[in-house]
């Protein structure tokens, strides 16, 4: 299929090219389309859905629209920062923290919690695929882990250095691309999506 990814992020395009390798992935900019979407829905699924639907009308039907929204959900923060993952620690002037500052802010907030169970967290990824108004799929998947006591690893981005994947006891930033695709929320969601698209006639 010809998939148009509702994103301006070249890094994400490359990740989906790896994860959905039997399809071609384009960005709006490849088609000369300027795309922006305010992610202010109450769930990852609704953000992904809104983003894909808002792009659908602008693009020829030969393209299927794919979008994703993802973030970190910490049990001790009642599932937060959740859909506000990128804005966690934002000050009253709307200044966003850099990744490293944000990770420090998170570690500081959780410093009184000692056990893995108390520091339990999930990375969540929601994907939405819109063919037309009546053919729409969403898949939200997650990976279980806990917040490390300190940053570790240099790969990935965002919260990757402070999120330990329970199943292999490494932070997301310590994983090779191959390991990340196998264990990550986006890898899991994408594999299910590939299965679903493969099941279509």
């Amino acid at each position: 299929m010809k998939i148009l990814l509702a994103s301006n992020n070249l890094h994400k395009k490359q990740e989906f090219e790896r994860l959905l390798s039997s399809h071609t992935i384009s960005l709006p900019s490849d088609l000369g389309i300027t795309f922006d979407f305010e992610e202010d829905e109450p769930s990852f699924t609704l953000n992904a859905l809104g983003k894909a639907q808002s792009l659908r009308a602008l693009v020829p039907n030969e393209y299927v629209i794919l979008s994703d929204d993802s973030g970190l959900c910490v049990d001790a923060l009642f599932g937060g920062p959740g859909v506000r993952t990128a804005r966690y620690g934002m000050d009253v002037f709307g200044r966003m923290l850099q990744s490293e500052e944000r990770n420090e802010f998170l570690l500081k907030n959780l410093r009184h919690l000692k056990t893995k169970e108390e520091r339990k967290a999930y990375f969540v990824c929601a994907l939405a695929v819109v063919f037309d108004p009546y053919r729409v799929f969403t898949i939200s998947e997650s990976v279980e882990g806990y917040i490390a006591n300190q940053s570790s690893g240099v790969k990935g981005f965002g919260y990757d250095p402070v999120f330990v994947v329970s199943e292999i006891d490494k932070t997301m930033a310590e994983l090779s691309d191959e390991e990340k695709d196998r264990y990550s929320h986006r890898g899991r969601a994408s594999r299910l999506l590939a299965t679903l698209l493969g099941g279509m006639k």
Copy 2:
């Protein structure tokens, strides 16, 4: 999987038992749970999602929650009655029409439209599956058709007698169970769901 269907409709339970035959289907009433949900979201997907999520917290985790919302979308009615399918033709006192009255009301409203293209319509079915707050799938599928000039066929329910499936030129109410499962919106959505559930580890 043990699937709990967010519905009180025994007929729907039987339909899903046929469509998802490798899983067991229960209704809330089988577990002694009283369930009701107001379907007032702007899309089938959001109705299905809300319905499944509202049941999730009431039920042990060994059950996966499944819900569906479906309806008729007529091009000449700008996609209506859509999510208001069951309330189409409702009077100012909130009195709902019976199926046959509603079908007559629809035929009357479209009487000036002559061609299949002008009378084009879709049956849409959205399914939502909720495992936990972070693992959630939705699938919306449709079947293309047109509104007949008069009712025909005695099977099925709702708009089935006035909706002609383009691919086989029969109304939904003229189809055998087997044909209905093959062509219908709910059949298509359920097959994709079965594929998706089969792809999970």
